[in-house]
Symmetry: D2
Subunit: 434 residues, 4 copies
């Protein structure tokens, strides 16, 4: 193995008073909550890209991290990177990981070479997964970094690039399938536009719909029975991205008859960029029946771009997990840390400590959410607010017509008096579980 | 008639060099563009609420306008207000107007009294419309200002308030129908939530869906064959509004089987608040087949709330009308000025001059858009960009499966080279038509 | 007394496990932290305007609250309002309150009548303050609600309105002085512009500067030795407000020679609207020596206007109080709840419960901040990061010239290696104190 | 010379009807406006970085441009780049250019090597400038891209990096001086913080102040009499940047006694990110006496990051130049295009066409602004609005004290009636000059 994390022992649960950067204070994987160990609720996954492929660059500066696997253009170094990655998974005790093709293998000179590189790494992953017990939460294809994708993948004006995207997703899905991945994710980073002036939005939308249908059919064909997930994001890198938010993706799925086949992978930072709270997107996906998995991170509320920071605000995370628990928890999905170090956090220990803090924040949040659900007062208050709708008369009205609904009012018998929404009392109630 | 606008003559077209605040420089209603007079392209409507019902208040201050029809709690003054309104319509030469029930009549002590007040005003409008030739673009119900609506109308936790909303919309639709309105609009200002904590989003969404179905059925029943329109807005007054944007409304309509029955009324300012450009929302609605009508105004880009200013940037407005012209123009829809004076603009002449500037901005924009469409270079560039998709091979690929699309790439024959998107050249091209 | 809060007993500290909406779980006023009782650290004040003068309206709807003191145009009802207000202060046990003239008295037909109304209420307050022990944290003048202020007060184009502002502030400062107020606040809600086109920004800035100098001189003259505070806000109600943020106010004070005479009253929501975190504004004010007092509330991160909600996120509030404690805590300043109920929270008990939750959030935050400061690890890490600057050589370099600083580098002896900023480790450290 | 722009002739003025991408329709350099040729009003400069050093990457993708001078790590290719750059300057006929050290030379292994590379390129520029007549508007140092600057330059916690910054600026200023640069610019891209937790804001601010004083002193010492400019930006790359906006920079300059020595270089996109309009920042800088130069570009209003697009909205640009003309126009400053191609605009001709469109937009805007100023109606309306302040009584009041100002109101003689702000009429007036 690599000595990149030399001297760092596996992180253990040490209780709330545990000292140091490298102990869990809230995440005891075996702690049973609502009848299930925490690890099975949270289903943590580490993301290959931010932790191992990103080099610390931003729009105004180049790499800050100097890693033993840089530059990332060589298969030997790709394996050193894999060694370090699995070392981190082991240290953290995360049960899952996630990756794009481009994270794990160098780009080849041709498609075939890139694909061969990918499968060589897949073969390299196999024994490591066996040995560590770390499983694949999901795989995905990077259809946004290489210059060929600059104008989109499935939505590209050039059918050859659509074909290239098809071949790439086919390879990545096969890789995911081979590694027993539980989901396959599509993030359409360049599926959108920079300017409406050169864009045929209707045509591109139809291309995207067909592509998704083809991907789903292919999954069936090869026997991949994991969940297909779309990850909404409103913009960045493009000016406008077609998978704007949960509601937009839902309309798109309905249009292409995929609303029961495809679910969403919701990211906190993307929700914020779209003008929503994370819990809004989760609750909406639950109500629409398309809640699949989450990308956990946090977006700076004062920055207008995707900052992908590690979560650290327990009250906020609590509200997110509360919506997930109300949906019955994850099935194939999980909590993927789509979070990256700040580019000034140069040390290997920063990578471990950042995940430890994030995992603890999530564990504390989930436990608070579970207490809130078990206690039942919040749900009781909600139910009480709508109790009027449980009457037979109200139900009949909803099944009737406008004139029927209007009749009582027209007859003069209805002068409704508004009742307090009790928002502050409910907010205070939530704070009791933290 | 009132002497509120005493001394102000009907506004006439005076050509680009016309002087003074009260002449059109771009809007000649009879000028034929793309085979149709401008007035039939633009179909201008004045909005009763901003110009006649709003008193100049904002969250930090009360009324600034002192109008002869204040306070607005009396039927006599409601008629003085109507007189002034039709006087303005006549001075501006707008072919249409729009109103909410609450704009035109005082609230009564009971539902019946409010409804009777409404119909009395409807009767008062009739001869005025006859005399001036001004028609009703659309009517609507104000389901957001009175305290009874504070927690929603159709989505209210109290079924009595749902009933009250039904009765109110029934009355407003009947009023609209009597006056020959060409559309009926629903804006769900309070259909959303202030906090998820007290909200059953799934239930409220179903209530909203049923309500809309009931409204459509009722329109059929009474023989109202105008278009039913939903007006998207992401938030304000609520934290989150269910009719967030065009894409969200589309998914909602699909869910309730109304996507061919209901269209959208898109407002510039609401598009901006949702993180979109106006032209994006228009183009998307066109592609989804639900483009109905527009609320023209402008939102301050540096303010985070709905500023409802009169449009004055011709290049921006041009891009909006270009998308409308590409859709074939308005059918029952039109250009409603959902714009209000700044609260410091106290003089009656401000009301006229603001509309004159807005109408001129729209006319200049529409004419530039028409030139751009007639010239055809922009559309030619767009078509050329996607030309590759016109080949039989490309079409077959789109109808085929993933493996088929991938095969050519896997065989090594495809190494696509990206082509310039030419954004700046297209932007410069657009500037030529202005 | 009024029976508005009938049946609500004074709120007591019940410990973390206390049940119900009306017990403090974190705020024990007598608990000693860093050598001082909590009540003297936090110096809570209730705000008259949001809790007693605001009627529940927003830009899309009218009043929702129906209070015994409505309508607010009568001296008798103003006294009923005062009775309820002091009843709330007593129930909450807040040591302070704050008010604008317009909150407490009806507007008169003339300036003299308004002023007489104010002083009559001041006289009514006196015995109540005596009896309850509640003191005045600050008084202020409402120079933004009445239509006369629509184009500004001190910055108005009309010198008569400047004069009216002078007379109004003079009266309010005298009222504040009589009541033993510890600060006097100026919030320039209309001191800014709606459009640059009609604005002489340089002239208005000079008017504002002179006005502030006149106010300070007058305070000296009448022997008011409280602190004069300016409250920054970037916009709303105006498009641009001159007192944009702390940095802007500082430059303004420097220009008029008032940077040691005037301090700032910083509001969380205003910081957010200006694109800053609350802790940023606090830290900057501390470093500039102008930190005076705070308006505690929270702004919805997804809404672009001032939502003035009660604080409820302890981790965020902790970071704010940490900066205040680093400044040595409040002197004449305090924690004013510039927070209002949601307009759906109709019940009197909502008013009490909202404050209880807010006070508890602040107490929990302050106690966590105190632990963090006492523990010292965060400050040690900060000091260690800058330790290089403590060397004599580094200090000499800073006192020297550019050529001197450059010389070592030019000589080839300096190839600096960046060090980890440790952001995630520090964020995790902070979470330990919560 | 290079053949990068082979086949592209120098761009000429062809009048409003000129066809094709490569003719000016508004910019006739010799056209006299307000007594001065356009070229001397606009003082256009091309920016080396965006057009020649940026390779088309963004946070989600790598380079898209493939230029003959890539990779940029070699002196030979740096000269090919310089050849292409001067070729573009010649084709466009821009009188000026601007550069950072890192744009023009490869980074060396040591400081000395980097500096020598810079001076070798400076020597290479000399004859090219002679031959083409293109002058240097300003030079600057890139203190943000290399990993050594990740935690700041002058504000770094490490004094060695401060020293490195001093040596770098010293070299860049000398290079600027040798080339006859008319200004020297400082943009503190990393002078700010990612997290307050590890930041000593007061200390960093003092370091920045001392650094700026040292830079000014050094300019005097070497006889550089160009203007020293600071470029404000609120954030990005950092979470918070110290030179947030014009008002913040002003307070900073006052604090270090540099408000008459240093001016600002204002960028449209940075103004937008800070929540201001461009014209606001320009007007404020003018009123504070620190308006120096501009970085012309445009920021997408729906994107929360710095998009640096070429300007193309004439009405907006008109308002900006109007403020500049009101300041008397540029002295040493000018209009630098801090604008980059969209990363999909791959062709060399895109580079030329984008600048042509931008220059035309600026020329059209400046000419409209000049007409507006010459016509005088806008200024007359502004003066009329404040006319009341011209009376002796009003002036005396402003020089007097609060009691004096209040006296007339207290005596009952003043009941001011607000007057219309006429915003819409003024906006319409502006539209007449376009």
């Amino acid at each position: 193995m690599t000595d990149f994390f030399a001297g760092i022992d596996p992180v253990r649960y040490g209780g709330p008073e545990a000292d140091g950067d490298l102990a869990f204070r809230h995440y005891d994987p075996e702690e049973v909550v609502l009848g299930k160990p925490l690890k099975d609720h949270l289903r943590f996954a580490a993301a290959y890209w931010h932790s191992f492929a990103w080099e610390g660059g931003d729009p105004f500066g180049g790499q800050t991290f100097l890693r033993p696997w840089h530059p990332q253009d060589d298969m030997g170094r790709a394996k050193i990177k894999a060694d370090a990655a699995f070392e981190m998974f082991r240290i953290l005790g995360v049960p899952f990981f996630c990756f794009h093709d481009a994270d794990v293998r160098p780009e080849g000179a041709t498609f075939a070479e890139s694909r061969d590189n990918l499968f060589e790494i897949v073969d390299y992953f196999g024994p490591k997964m066996e040995e560590t017990g770390v499983k694949l939460l999901w795989g995905t294809a990077n259809l946004f970094s290489h210059r060929r994708w600059m104008s989109g993948a499935a939505t590209n004006p050039d059918p050859d690039i659509f074909a290239y995207a098809a071949a790439t997703v086919k390879a990545c899905m096969e890789a995911t399938h081979r590694l027993g991945g539980q989901n396959y994710v599509l993030w359409g980073g360049r599926e959108g536009y920079e300017t409406l002036l050169n864009t045929d939005m209707g045509r591109e939308r139809r291309q995207a719909g067909r592509f998704l249908q083809m991907v789903c059919d292919h999954a069936d064909r090869i026997g991949f029975d994991g969940t297909i997930l779309i990850e909404p994001k409103p913009q960045e890198p493009t000016k406008h991205q077609y998978d704007y938010d949960v509601a937009t993706v839902y309309g798109f799925l309905k249009d292409f008859g995929l609303e029961t086949r495809v679910k969403v992978n919701i990211e906190q930072g993307h929700a914020i960029l779209a003008g929503h709270s994370f819990e809004h997107e989760l609750a909406l996906a639950r109500e629409l029946g398309i809640l699949g998995s989450i990308d956990m991170n946090r977006n700076d509320y004062q920055s207008g771009w995707d900052t992908d920071q590690f979560p650290n605000n327990v009250p906020e995370v609590t509200l997110a997990y509360y919506e997930i628990l109300r949906a019955g928890g994850f099935t194939t999905g999980g909590t993927n840390f789509d979070a990256k170090l700040r580019r000034q956090s140069l040390d290997p220990v920063d990578l471990i400590a950042a995940h430890v803090g994030g995992m603890d924040t999530c564990a504390a949040g989930l436990k608070a959410a579970a207490r809130m659900l078990e206690d039942g007062r919040l749900e009781a208050a909600r139910a009480e607010r709508y109790a009027g709708w449980e009457s037979a008369e109200a139900k009949a009205m909803l099944d009737g017509d406008l004139a029927g609904a209007a009749a009582r009012v027209e007859a003069g018998g209805v002068e409704p008096e508004p009742r307090s929404g009790r928002q502050e009392r409910l907010e205070n109630l939530v704070n009791r579980y933290l």
